[in-house]
């Protein structure tokens, strides 16, 4: 794979992650049609899922989120061509329309950042919030445990 | 009435704040000795003072006038001298008067004049009270009434020499190397303010009682108010002054033995008293009940001296250092052992008493060499003085 310009990615600082899980909520809302927390999670509504996940063990907690690898194993593993690396930006993008739900990418990813969307039968992963300068999780993190870096 | 605190406590603090070094020497045989070891010893503790006060009390220096009160008076202004001498001539028979001899000492700047008078109260002036009470009245009158005059000391056959400077400087200035005494106390002062007033240095004195003190009397406020009930005017607003008055009140006026006076100033803790046997237990309970206001609290190490006796005392939990040594005929008390060892390397005895446990040094009365009148603790003359309600 040809080397590309350095990719912007979300850097996770475990020592600053406070385990509030707000990144999960901001992500889910951002990927909800309403792009609004209250509308996405309002009473009686079906709760959307985010593409970032906080794991915790005692005082240790951090967010699992796609690293947009330079050599993405998920892209190699994808059987349907749904997972692609944008040659322009270096972003690893997933196209749910082409996804067949084989979970090969989930098995291939060494970071555990591709999530299974049971309801839709496809996988979901971080897309760095197209249309936003800073991804929603980064903007919402109260302790700058998530940083957008080159 | 003149306000002495404008000299000694110019900022009107609660009291004068200071720290220091103390040293004392008693020749227990009553022999008059040179003060040279005392000068060296106190100079060795230079780090404890800051050069803003030094002084000495010496006993046995005026044997030729042993029956006269030796009044050391300091004058900041020659006019004050005229006024004082006028006051004295009206009330006392003055056997001798002279300026205290001094030596030109570079480190001493703007010294006041210091004069001494050997005198006795004249018949017809306040005959109804003892001579001591009359002497005290004169001291209080001069100190509170005559501007620019201050009495350093007023006892018989003893004197206080003090001023602004390191103590060794004061010794040189007052030519103390030319005196011999059987009891020397020395003080190096670390006052927090620099208002250079010679009267503010230690020792503090009333009659032949002198006090040198290291520490701060935290109970000063109430000690002072209690003493004021008995007519003591705490004109200098310094905690050391109250120590002198406490001893005067208890030992001289109320006739309590020194062993009890020290137990009033630094009583045992209640817990300890409860463990004591009768009658000691009841006696101490009584003492604390009666004299609670004279408990001297806070850190202190003090040497109280009068003719024939020197007492070193610490506060109850020994917050200030004090050590004692005996070498030959001499008893030494010092803030630091090194000073004693400097002047007497081979000591027969050495100890650091526990808090509240006095170091008592007495001149052995049978010693023929003693030329000093040692006053008995209780005299009829003194007893009469008790009838006078107050001093002022």
């Amino acid at each position: 794979m040809n080397k590309l310009a350095p990719q912007k990615r979300i850097q996770v600082k475990e020592e600053a992650c406070i385990g509030c899980r707000l990144c999960e909520f901001y992500c889910a809302a951002e990927h909800h049609p309403s792009k609004d927390l209250l509308k996405a999670f309002g009473p009686g509504r079906e709760r959307p899922r985010g593409r970032v996940r906080v794991v915790e063990e005692g005082p240790v907690s951090f967010a699992l989120v796609c690293r947009h690898c330079d050599e993405p194993l998920c892209v190699f593993a994808c059987v349907s061509g749904a997972m692609e690396r944008d040659p322009e930006t270096g972003k690893v993008i997933h196209d749910p329309e082409r996804c067949v739900g084989c979970l090969s990418c989930v098995l291939a990813c060494t970071n555990g950042t591709i999530l299974w969307d049971e309801k839709r039968g496809v996988v979901a992963k971080c897309d760095l919030c197209p249309g936003r300068e800073v991804p929603a999780c980064v903007a919402g993190c109260p302790n700058e445990a998530l940083i957008l870096s080159e | 009435m003149k306000n002495l605190r404008t000299f000694n406590n110019p900022y009107r603090d609660d009291k004068v704040f200071e720290g220091c070094a103390i040293f004392a020497l008693l020749n227990q045989a009553g022999k008059n000795v040179s003060g040279e070891p005392v000068f060296r010893a106190i100079a060795n503790m230079r780090n404890r003072g800051n050069g803003l006060g030094g002084g000495f009390a010496v006993y046995g220096i005026y044997p030729e006038y042993a029956e006269h009160y030796a009044l050391h008076v300091m004058y900041d202004d020659p006019a004050a001298r005229e006024e004082v001498e006028c006051y004295l001539k009206d009330r006392f028979d003055i056997a001798e008067e002279e300026e205290v001899p001094t030596r030109k000492t570079p480190a001493v700047s703007h010294p006041p004049q210091v004069f001494r008078y050997f005198l006795k109260p004249r018949a017809g002036w306040m005959d109804d009270v003892t001579e001591d009470e009359r002497m005290i009245r004169a001291v209080m009158d001069i100190n509170t009434g005559i501007k620019d005059a201050f009495v350093f000391s007023s006892g018989k056959n003893m004197g206080v020499f003090k001023g602004v400077g390191h103590p060794e400087t004061m010794a040189e200035y007052f030519r103390l190397d030319e005196y011999r005494g059987y009891l020397w106390t020395a003080h190096s002062r670390f006052p927090t303010n620099s208002r250079a007033w010679w009267g503010g240095a230690h020792p503090f004195s009333i009659l032949d009682w002198t006090v040198i003190h290291n520490g701060e009397v935290s109970s000063y406020g109430i000690n002072r108010r209690y003493l004021e009930m008995f007519g003591y005017a705490c004109t200098l607003e310094t905690d050391t002054e109250v120590l002198a008055y406490i001893v005067d009140l208890l030992a001289r006026r109320q006739r309590l033995p020194m062993s009890l006076v020290t137990k009033i100033m630094a009583p045992p803790l209640w817990e300890e008293i409860e463990r004591m046997k009768e009658p000691e237990r009841s006696e101490l309970i009584k003492l604390r009940q009666v004299y609670g206001s004279l408990l001297v609290n806070g850190p202190f190490a003090v040497v109280i001296a009068h003719h024939g006796e020197m007492i070193g005392l610490n506060d109850r939990i020994r917050l200030r250092p004090m050590t004692a040594g005996i070498g030959g005929e001499n008893l030494y008390i010092s803030s630091e052992e090194a000073s004693i060892r400097l002047v007497c390397p081979e000591l027969d005895e050495f100890w650091s008493p526990q808090g509240g446990d006095p170091i008592v040094g007495k001149v052995k009365l049978e010693t023929p060499a003693l030329h000093v009148p040692v006053r008995p603790l209780v005299s009829d003359e003194d007893r009469a003085g008790l009838k006078v309600g107050g001093l002022i």
């Binding site: - | 230079r46 780090n47 250092p321 630091e336 100890w351």
Partner: protein
């Protein structure tokens, strides 16, 4: 991670003292001059320093951080070896207040008595005082990892020995005092506020003599071994026969609680 404290010290001269003894006459010197002279001698390679005629100079050996031997004759002043780290210092005479104040390591041996607050806040090393000591010995002495301070007192300490003690070992041999006037009443308030360390006291104590935070026990076998070693060292240092002093005579004083004031407050 922090490396071991001692290994962190840049030791100028890692070799043990060469035995080359530099002499200093302290008479007439103030402490700054004396200590500067010592610095100069060390800089020029002296391995051992003998100071004579000491009369109250303060802070001797207080900024030395290498294993230098000092032999001091006279009466050193306050804060002897304060903040020191690794010196071995022998005093032939009495010492004053503040011996080994906040000392980190090393050894001080006093052939005589010492004044108040011996080993205040001391964290490591050993202090041996042949005779008695003043008030507040080992106040707030503490230990840290391999640094375990030891104070050995030949005679007895005055009140408040081991106050606030937070670590280390104090041993009181209770030998006959040089002058009983220093102990007109039995010392009290031993171990007031103790919350670490141990005090080994030879002889008997009345309950009132100790703080209420103190527990009593007999030394166990390991502690007896420690005591035997200390007794042996004391006999050697001061050339005294201590055959009559045996570990079984000692009372162990220990903190009943690591948190003596835990119940003082309303949360």
């Amino acid at each position: 991670m922090l490396p071991e404290i001692n290994s962190q010290l840049p030791i100028l001269n890692p070799q043990p003292p060469t035995g080359e003894v530099a002499q200093v006459d302290a008479r007439g010197l103030d402490y700054r001059e004396l200590n500067r002279r010592v610095d100069d001698l060390l800089a020029s390679g002296a391995g051992e320093i003998e100071i004579r005629g000491v009369h109250g100079q303060r802070y001797i050996a207080s900024r030395i951080r290498r294993p230098v031997n000092f032999r001091i004759h006279g009466t050193p002043g306050n804060d002897l070896a304060a903040f020191s780290d690794g010196v071995r210092l022998e005093v032939f005479g009495d010492a004053q207040d503040g011996v080994g104040n906040t000392m980190n390591s090393g050894e001080i041996i006093v052939h005589g008595r010492a004044g108040d607050i011996v080993g205040m806040g001391m964290r490591g090393g050993r202090i041996f005082i042949r005779d008695e000591v003043g008030y507040r010995t080992a106040i707030h002495m503490k230990e840290y990892r391999e640094q375990r301070p030891v104070i050995v007192i030949g005679v007895m300490g005055q009140d408040f020995l081991g106050e606030y003690m937070a670590g280390g070992v104090v041993v009181i041999l209770n030998l006959p005092p040089r002058n009983p006037k220093s102990f007109s009443r039995p010392p009290a308030f031993i171990g007031t506020g103790i919350h670490g360390g141990k005090i080994f006291f030879r002889g008997k104590l009345e309950p009132y003599q100790t703080g209420k935070e103190v527990g009593f026990d007999c030394p166990d076998e390991k502690e007896k071994e420690l005591l035997n070693g200390i007794i042996r060292d004391y006999s050697n240092y001061f050339s005294q026969n201590l055959d009559h002093v045996i570990p079984d005579d000692f009372l162990k004083l220990y903190p009943k609680n690591l948190r003596p004031y835990g119940r003082l407050y309303a949360y």
